[in-house]
């Protein structure tokens, strides 16, 4: 029973991490209808930024959040202007392939610049925190990542739904032709969307360094889950992704207790069942 409780709590916390990683992905999808295969690599670059901020400047991962956010926002802009923005209007497949090329390129770049070695921040400040609630142990990094996920999700949702600029981004996403008539330049809005997605992803990367290691393939273990979380929650729905993240996390945690080899399979199966019953995902509209 203690183990089950612990697993559910672990699952919720790791679910929040999935949601955190998924924010940037769901934003780009919602506005541009593009699945960004390079998303995991953006997370990875955010993790490296945070790692080097620690190893070169001695900054704790929590302090390097702004740096990682800005760096990956810039990376997002570069990716948009250098590649993705040049295939607007092409088939979705063509756009997916561009992001796939970026994925391979960025992973190769990381491997070239920083070797395939695993990089870890040995003792981040958050790792010193630890709470025991009855028999359940909760680690500081997990809580910090979960809180960060909540804040990042909330901030992006607020921006998109409550601000004028966010409204313009949404308008450009929903009907680019009408938006241009209203004086909104859809291209600028798309670029902005990549910048914000990069910001959220960079923040996620820095938060992840509280507990995970950076390596050229670090994004892989999160991004498959992020894809599932985004489709599960309903493509483009930020709150849907958060909800789906938690569900998938708990499923993984509980299954990990009884059939540890099948954690990922369980999450994927849960997703398939839901999406086959409700093809638009939990909170999707399309």
């Amino acid at each position: 029973m203690t183990d089950l409780l612990q697993s559910v709590v672990n699952g919720l916390l790791i679910g929040a991490v999935f949601a955190l990683v998924a924010v940037g992905l769901t934003l780009i999808y919602g506005v541009m209808d593009v699945i960004n295969f390079a998303h995991g690599e953006m997370v990875m670059l955010g993790m490296y930024t945070s790692f080097f901020a620690w190893s070169l400047l001695g900054l704790d991962p929590l302090l390097s959040i702004p740096l990682a956010g800005v760096s990956i926002a810039l990376t997002g802009a570069l990716m948009y202007f250098g590649a993705v923005g040049r295939v607007l209007g092409r088939s979705p497949l063509a756009q997916v392939i561009v992001t796939f090329g970026l994925q391979v390129f960025l992973r190769g770049l990381a491997q070239f610049l920083w070797t395939p070695n695993t990089r870890t921040v040995p003792r981040p400040w958050a790792a010193g925190l630890r709470w025991e609630i009855g028999p359940v142990v909760i680690g500081g990094p997990q809580v910090i990542m979960a809180v960060g996920a909540l804040l990042a999700t909330g901030a992006v949702a607020y921006f998109m739904n409550r601000t004028r600029l966010g409204g313009a981004v949404r308008a450009a996403g929903e009907d680019p032709a009408a938006a241009s008539l209203m004086g909104i330049d859809p291209r600028k809005m798309y670029a902005l969307c990549w910048v914000i997605a990069g910001l959220a992803t960079g923040v996620a990367g820095a938060l992840l360094m509280n507990s995970y290691s950076a390596s050229p393939t670090a994004g892989v273990s999160f991004v498959l889950m992020a894809f599932v979380v985004v489709a599960f929650g309903g493509f483009g729905s930020i709150t849907g992704a958060a909800l789906a993240g938690l569900l998938v996390g708990v499923a993984q945690g509980v299954v990990g207790l009884y059939a540890p080899s099948y954690t990922l399979a369980a999450a994927l199966a849960l997703y398939l069942v839901v999406v086959l019953v409700r093809p638009q995902g939990l909170l999707g509209t399309r």
């Binding site: 999808y29 209808d33 699945i35 590649a83 040049r86 295939v87 607007l88 209007g89 092409r90 088939s91 979705p92 497949l93 063509a94 756009q95 997916v96 392939i97 561009v98 796939f100 090329g101 970026l102 994925q103 391979v104 390129f105 960025l106 992973r107 190769g108 770049l109 491997q111 070239f112 070797t115 395939p116 996403g173 929903e174 009907d175 680019p176 032709a177 241009s180 859809p186 291209r187 498959l224 894809f227 599932v228 985004v230 489709a231 493509f235 080899s261 099948y262 990922l264 399979a265 994927l268 199966a269 997703y271 398939l272 999406v275 086959l276 093809p279 638009q280 995902g281």
Partner: protein, 361 residues
């Protein structure tokens, strides 16, 4: 060139239509096959043969993917499942002492059935939902095969080395030309099957479904049925590649037979060569296998490889440059040459007018 549609939200059903409608003529097929047949005679070393064998084998899989993803517009990122069905069925039966020919033959209907069984629920999903669902299905199977006893688990299976003969599908490693020509034969078989499907009524229907599913349904096409038909043939063709691959490598494990990377590489080959174009996947397979081999041999060794870097850059550049892939780039470069040679406008090789590669539904 003008791009008036550039800011429209892309409709997922829109793919290069004008290019896709053309099926290859016999004359093109003969030229390509002659070139392929000559290749191992011109390039005689083992490494070149290895590239050719892999390119043809993956060309089969990518051609299979192209039928469903390119012509029918159902973008699957889970085709490794069918490749793995071919590989694992063949491995299982050959290990029991079956003839590899029989084993491969048996794996084809099995993969077709599996593709239809996966398609049955998943074709209810549209666009990206479908694509992500295919990843989920393939990954679940990957995990099951990795863990459940009976299919070699994570260790994979080694196939027995037996007497070298055509009947055993094992040949000398000193001269790999027999491997190459058998691969070429299988490719012809796969190309013929896909061509027959596309030439017939079903071919027109699946393209209509890709271009506009609602309109296709409105004129009375049984959308679900024709999607399933395309998926079944696509699965069988991909399984053929898997079956032959395992006979060539004599080993299969989950990453090499069922991995997500494999699924993505089929898609990539088709798109790089020219999605929805008959010879596109084959061209893409040759280019990717060649590039991977060359970058691996030339640029690695220091532990800091730039092979992935170049490979990624190539993918991005090609896809930015031309949605029709390398085939379209080639055609565009060839056009002025052809004009200078005084040839008339030939719908087979001339590029379509700029901008028409993307036709609005």
């Amino acid at each position: 060139m003008s791009t008036p549609t550039v800011l429209d939200r892309p409709s997922p059903a829109r793919l290069p239509v004008a290019a896709a409608r053309r099926l290859p003529s016999w004359s093109t097929a003969v030229v390509i096959l002659a070139a392929l047949a000559a290749y191992p005679l011109v390039f005689a070393d083992s490494a070149a043969h290895n590239i050719g064998i892999l390119a043809l084998t993956f060309g089969i899989a990518a051609t299979g993917w192209n039928l469903l993803g390119g012509y029918a517009g159902q973008v699957s990122f889970g085709h490794a499942l069918y490749f793995g069905t071919g590989a694992y069925t063949t491995a299982l039966l050959v290990r029991q002492g079956w003839s590899p020919w029989l084993a491969i033959a048996l794996s084809l209907p099995l993969a077709a059935l599996l593709a239809a069984a996966v398609g049955w629920p998943c074709f209810r999903l549209r666009h990206h939902y479908y694509s992500i669902a295919t990843i989920a299905v393939a990954e679940i199977v990957f995990i099951l095969v990795t863990n459940l006893p009976g299919l070699g688990q994570a260790n994979g299976w080694e196939l027995p080395v037996v007497e070298q003969s055509l009947a055993n599908l094992q040949f000398s490693l000193l001269d790999k030309r027999p491997y190459y020509y058998v691969a070429l034969g299988f490719f012809c078989l796969a190309a013929l099957a896909v061509w027959l499907f596309l030439r017939g009524r079903a071919g027109n229907y699946v393209r209509a479904i890709r271009d506009d599913q609602e309109a296709a349904a409105a004129v009375g096409i049984d959308v679900h049925r024709y999607k399933l038909a395309a998926a079944a043939l696509s699965g069988a063709v991909t399984a053929l590649a898997g079956g032959y691959y395992v006979m060539y490598v004599l080993f299969v494990d989950p990453p090499s037979g069922l991995g997500l990377d494999l699924s993505v590489s089929f898609t990539l080959m088709a798109v790089l060569g020219g999605v929805g174009r008959f010879w596109g996947p084959l061209l893409g397979a040759w280019v990717l296998v060649f590039v991977q081999d060359v970058t691996r041999q030339e640029f690695s060794g220091s532990g800091r490889s730039i092979d992935l870097l170049l490979y990624g850059a190539l993918i991005v550049l090609v896809s930015i440059t031309e949605p029709g892939g390398l085939l379209a780039i080639g055609q565009r470069l060839w056009a002025p040459v052809a004009r200078r040679l005084g040839r008339g406008r030939n719908p087979e090789t001339d590029p379509e007018p700029a901008g028409s590669a993307e036709v609005k539904p």
